[in-house]
């Protein structure tokens, strides 16, 4: 196509007809063949579901009978549903505390590992292993280790004279328990931050040391700004994930067996959505919930991106 922009004068007819050479045409055909799985998948499993979900959110649909168009009724109902407010509150509580704590803990471990020298590999493995544990098993471990009477956590707290709370049954302590056990899987973030730390040029520290900056000042003024890109990446990814948290909480507090005690404290938005869709078969209502979730996540991400522009140092700018 660069050939057509030479100064031999306008040749519109030729431009249109002979726009691509034969080898270019072959390339285009080959490219389309290679990316065809994604195009098909996009149309079937993304584009169509998005459109259909938007339509379903305006209907009453139970899978058995045909969708019944009801306009914005689902959204109106949503506003009045106390369980929506409750689940949003639970999710917001979890996200607002879990994400910052998770990022700070990951950073602390990455900084420690960066000082560990040769043994870093061993510790990195130890920190990463919990990430391999299936979420169901994590949920079960939560029930076992955080058990109010006989759990390991409260036993250890007892050694220090602290009477631990009933983590798995007291509504005030269910979410803190879930947040604590979620920190068990900081491993992947630690690895990301450690990789970023190792990319910080040493010269920066050398000159800082000449100027008499101590470790803490170096960390705050050099290290954290230099890896702010990775920190921000973890922040965004985990905010989105935390807002959709499901498996561990569902395992521990929901399902067919445990309706014996109140589990409202663990009713996260994704869990309530799942219940509406697949336990009550309220497909229209669940679709409306999904769109509300989408908008919330979009707004959170946009705000974070806006804020990050002021704080994040992008190494890529210099490359």
């Amino acid at each position: 196509m660069t050939a057509s922009s030479t100064s031999t004068g306008p040749r519109p007819a030729r431009l249109r007809r002979g726009r691509y050479s034969r080898s270019q045409k072959q390339d285009i055909r080959a490219a389309l063949l290679f990316i065809s799985p994604w195009i098909l998948g996009f149309l079937i499993f993304t584009a169509w579901p998005v459109i259909y979900s938007a339509y379903l959110s305006l209907t009453d649909y139970d899978v058995i009978n045909a969708p019944n168009f009801i306009g914005l009724d689902n959204y109106r109902e949503l506003l009045a549903d106390p369980k929506i407010a409750l689940s949003l509150w639970n999710t917001l509580y979890f996200t607002l505390i879990q994400v910052p704590v998770y990022v700070v803990v990951s950073l602390a471990f990455a900084l420690l590992l960066n000082q560990a020298g040769r043994s870093a590999g061993f510790f990195r493995t130890a920190f990463f292993l919990p990430k391999m544990t299936p979420p169901v098993a994590v949920g079960i471990l939560l029930l076992l280790l955080f058990n109010g009477q006989s759990g390991l956590i409260n036993t250890v707290l007892g050694w220090f004279g602290i009477a631990g709370p009933a983590w798995t049954t007291d509504p005030d302590w269910v979410k803190p328990g879930l947040i604590l056990i979620s920190l068990w899987s900081v491993g992947s973030s630690v690895i990301i931050l450690l990789a970023a730390l190792r990319n910080v040029p040493t010269e920066l520290y050398d000159s800082a040391r000449v100027d008499g900056a101590n470790w803490w000042q170096q960390t705050l003024k050099i290290t954290v700004p230099m890896i702010s890109g990775s920190i921000f990446f973890i922040f965004i990814v985990h905010s989105i994930a935390a807002f959709q948290t499901f498996s561990e909480a569902y395992t521990a507090f929901f399902g067919s067996g445990n309706s014996t005690y109140s589990n409202d404290a663990a009713l996260f938005y994704a869990i309530y959505l799942f219940q509406q869709a697949f336990e009550y078969l309220h497909m229209g209502y669940a679709s409306a919930m999904a769109w509300v979730l989408f908008v919330i996540i979009l707004v959170i991400t946009l705000i974070q991106m806006k804020v990050s522009k002021r704080f994040v140092y992008l190494e890529g700018d210099q490359r």
């Binding site: 994604w38 471990l141 690895i191």
Partner: protein
């Protein structure tokens, strides 16, 4: 997409050998191999020259404090595994005694769990789903990634932007219509919905693999073309083997994702004979944990059986896991 922000992969040292085995003998390819082959690290590990790490550690009090903190943290991170393993060898009455070494050591739980639940069947189902999910997503994503990395075609930029945009879409939005698709195909209740979507590639892996394909020297493929290689053999016999580390990362990541998934089995599986192990474990918890039967030793033992394959997987592919994660996070 002019300057990819991920570190470019270095070519593995085996490039020359790979070039020999395929039809490449032109000097351009050999030159490319000679220039680009020195990296011994096969993946996009940040270079270590002149980094902090090279400072010689001294045994001051600061370093001892660092190591002590790390050792204590390691105990905290590893102990839940040990607790679980230990509990699985205890009789029912002692499961909650928090003792490191079982007072009464018994192997009964491991014998009983197969009778209490169709564990072997669940393991087989999970293995089937996992292998199908990992192999299909790797091949399809690699094809798509290669299409975006090598060929120039109209709308390439916007289309790839669309690939990336789909990663931002919360799964909840497509969850209900996707269920309805499988439902209308009569597939709900079978294992198919757990993996068949992978036939169409996955945005994250497409992104990851494309980064690696972009790192391959173009001259290599021009030379192969002159030697008569067609588009498919350039992809299958040259590009894919050269990006083996990224392919391995994709397989491992998806293997783990498919093995540990709970939500989709909850949505799609009805009969306990079709369960995957995580779904089965949830059923065991509901029956023996809360359901009044209080057989926690069964739940604990089944948890161990569900988790151990993932631990083994990690130790097999530890290097790839760590490097794969480091790559994805270095400024996405």
């Amino acid at each position: 997409m002019s300057s990819p922000s991920l570190p470019r992969p270095q070519l593995p040292g085996g490039l020359a050998a790979a070039a020999d085995s395929s039809t490449l003998s032109t000097s351009a390819a050999v030159d490319a191999a000679g220039v680009l082959a020195p990296g011994e690290a096969p993946m996009a590990v940040p270079a270590r020259t002149g980094r902090q790490q090279s400072r010689r550690p001294s045994w001051g009090p600061g370093r001892i404090a660092v190591l002590a903190t790390l050792i204590i943290s390691t105990v905290v991170f590893i102990y839940p595994f040990i607790w679980l393993l230990s509990a699985s060898f205890k009789p029912r009455s002692e499961v909650f005694d928090n003792k490191l070494i079982p007072e009464t050591f018994t192997f009964d739980n491991y014998l009983n769990v197969w009778q209490e639940a169709p564990m072997a069947l669940w393991l087989g189902n999970t293995l089937l789903v996992t292998v199908l999910a990992a192999s299909t997503v790797t091949i399809s994503s690699a094809m798509v990634a290669w299409g975006f990395a090598y060929f120039r075609f109209p709308l390439r930029g916007p289309l790839f932007g669309l690939v990336l945009a789909t990663m931002m879409l919360p799964g909840a939005v497509t969850m209900v219509p996707t269920f309805l698709i499988w439902n209308s195909l009569g597939m709900v209740g079978t294992l198919t919905p757990l993996w068949a979507g992978n036939l169409f590639g996955s945005a994250f892996y497409i992104f990851l693999l494309r980064q690696f394909f972009l790192g391959l020297p173009r001259e290599l493929f021009e030379a192969a073309k002159i030697d008569g290689a067609n588009n498919w053999s350039m992809f299958w016999r040259i590009a894919l083997p050269l990006c083996k580390p990224a392919v391995v990362v994709t397989v491992l990541f998806e293997f783990q994702a498919a093995w540990t998934d709970l939500m989709r089995p909850l949505i799609y599986l009805r009969d306990s004979s079709t369960f995957t192990v995580p779904r089965g474990l949830k059923a065991l918890l509901d029956q023996y944990g809360f359901g009044g039967e209080w057989h926690w030793e069964i739940v604990v033992t089944a948890s161990v059986i569900t988790t151990i394959p993932m631990i083994i997987l990690f130790f097999i592919g530890q290097k790839q896991f760590v490097e794969g994660i480091a790559t994805t996070g270095t400024k996405g």
